[in-house]
Symmetry: C2
Subunit: 281 residues, 2 copies
C-alpha cells in the first residue's frame, strides 16, 4: 500500500482531505509542511497531501516555497474542500462575552463576529476542537466556540449559527514524483525567478508572452527572494504537454535568460487536472 503523508496533526482538515482523495493507503501525519514535501522528494513517502490556498487566508506559502526547492516532487493533483465553521455555546448560555477558537478561524469569521458580537473578546486556542472542549469543560455560560459542527456537538455544545464564514474553501495539493498526462482541462503552476532584478516591466513581458499564446492566468503572486529579487508564482490554464503552453514556456525562458546562464529561472511545480474549486466533500 502507498505511504501517504499529510500535514498533521491527526483529526484536522488535511487528514479529512487525504482520506477523501485516497480510498486506501497508509496515512501518516507529518509536520511541518516542509517535512511532507521533502519526504516525497526523497522517496520516504509515495504521496503527500498539503494545503495550497484557503479562500480567506490566501496562499500557503510554505507549500510553494518547499516545492520550489525540489527536483523530483511535483504537484500531480488538486482537490478543493468546503470548510464549514459553526458557532456553538452551552445550552442555557447568556450573552456571549468571549469567543474561543484557533486564530485563523477567528480571522476567517471576522465579519460574523463584527456583526453579531462585536464587543466579545476573542481568545486563541491551539485548535478549533480544543476551543469547544474548553468552553464545555469549564462550564462557561458567557462564552462561545468556533469549530466544525461535529466538534461542537461532540463537546456537548449547541449550535447557535451554522456556516458563519460562507464560501470558505481550502484547495489541497497532492504530491508525487511521476509526470502527469494532459487531460484536456489542466493547470500548470510555474515559479519564475527573473535573473534581472528591478527591471520595470519584466512581469509585463512574461504576461505578454502568455497572452500571445492565449493562455489564461488563474492566479499570480510575487514573493521577495531575500536577495533583493523576486519570485513570481503563476497558475495558468493548460498542461505542459499542450502546444501553446510549451511554446510559451520556451519563449519565457528565452526572454528571461537568453544565454541560458541561470538554472532556476523557470521551474514547473506541476501540471495537473484543474479542479475549478469544485468541492470534493
Amino acid at each position: 500500500m502507498s505511504k501517504i503523508a499529510y500535514l498533521g496533526p491527526e483529526k484536522t482538515f488535511t487528514e479529512k482531505a487525504a482520506k477523501l482523495i485516497f480510498s486506501e493507503g497508509i496515512f501518516i501525519p507529518v509536520q511541518p509542511i516542509r517535512n511532507v514535501v521533502i519526504g516525497v522528494e526523497t522517496g520516504s513517502y509515495d504521496r503527500g497531501v498539503i494545503p495550497l490556498e484557503n479562500f480567506y487566508n490566501g496562499q500557503v506559502i510554505q507549500s510553494i516555497d518547499s516545492l520550489t526547492e525540489c527536483n523530483s516532487a511535483k504537484i500531480i493533483r488538486e482537490a478543493s474542500l468546503k470548510v464549514v465553521h459553526c458557532f456553538g455555546a452551552l445550552k442555557g448560555h447568556g450573552s456571549i462575552k468571549k469567543v474561543y477558537s484557533k486564530d485563523q478561524a477567528l480571522e476567517q469569521c471576522g465579519k460574523y463576529l463584527g456583526q453579531n458580537c462585536a464587543d466579545a473578546q476573542t481568545i486563541q486556542t491551539a485548535s478549533t476542537a480544543e476551543a469547544a472542549e474548553y468552553v464545555a469543560q469549564n462550564g462557561l455560560l458567557d462564552s462561545a466556540a468556533i469549530a466544525p459542527r461535529e466538534a461542537l456537538l461532540k463537546s456537548g455544545l449547541e449550535i447557535i449559527a451554522e456556516d458563519i464564514c460562507p464560501n470558505n474553501r481550502t484547495r489541497f495539493i497532492v504530491l508525487g514524483r511521476e509526470q502527469t498526462k494532459s487531460t484536456g482541462d489542466d493547470k500548470t503552476i510555474l515559479a519564475i525567478h527573473p535573473p534581472e532584478r528591478d527591471r520595470p516591466g519584466v512581469l509585463a513581458d512574461c504576461l505578454n508572452i502568455l497572452g500571445s499564446q492565449h493562455i489564461n492566468l488563474e492566479c499570480i503572486y510575487s514573493r521577495p527572494d531575500g536577495k533583493k529579487g523576486y519570485y513570481f508564482y503563476i497558475e495558468l490554464d493548460g498542461h505542459t504537454e499542450d502546444k501553446n503552453v510549451d511554446l510559451a514556456l520556451n519563449a519565457l525562458k528565452n526572454s528571461l535568460d537568453p544565454r541560458e546562464e541561470h538554472g532556476d529561472t523557470i521551474k514547473i511545480l506541476g501540471s495537473f487536472a484543474n479542479s475549478h474549486w469544485k468541492d470534493e466533500n
Copy 2:
C-alpha cells in the same frame, strides 16, 4: 492622546510594533484584524496597526480584504520588524523528541527542524510564550520550544540556538483617515477589480500601462472574488501625487472601465513612505 488599536492579544509582536512606531498614545488590543480596520473606518480609533506581510508566511489577506471594504480608512505608513525565533529547552535536557510552538512559528522554522531534529514530533500551542511555559512547568527534558529569546529565558529555559529562521521579517501597516503627502520615495497599494471576467491578458494590459509610465512593481497577487472574478493587488513605487502614477491610474481606469459603469474597479488602499523592509527594531 490618540487611540491606537493594534491586533491583539497583548504581549504579541504587533503590540511591540505599535509601541515602536508610536512613542505615546492609548494602546488598545483589538481582535480580529477586521475589528481594527472597521474601528479606524468608523472613527472609534485614530490609528490602527496590523500586519500586512511576513517574509515566510506571505500576505495577511484579512488586512487587505478588510481595507478593500473601507472608504475612509487608508494605509498611511508601513514599518518592517525583524522576527527572531530561538530554540530553547530545560537545562540538562536529553535528545529532543518533541518541539512545542505556535503553528506559524513551527512552519517558519521548518528548515531548521528538518536539519536538526527531523524525527521530533511538533506540537501546536496557542502562542509561542505558552510553548515555553508548557515545557518549563511540566519539566519536559525531551522537549524544546520555539519562542522569542525573552520568552524562553523568562520561562527558565536555556537557549540551544538563536535566530533559527533567518531573514524573518513582518511588515506592519498603520491605518488612518487622512491623505498623506508625497515624500519622494513612496509606494501605493491598489486593489484592481476588473469588470470583465476571464479575458486573458487583462492583467498584462494593466502592467503594460504601468510599464509605459516607468512604474516599478514591488508586489502583486490575485485573489478570487467569490463570484468567478478576481481582485489584483499591486504595490507600486510612487505616490498618487506623482505625475506618472496619476497618469497611469487614469489610463488604468479608462482601460478597465471606459464607460465608468463600475464603482470599485480601482481602489487606492494607501500611498505612503516606502520602508524598503528596513528594520525598525
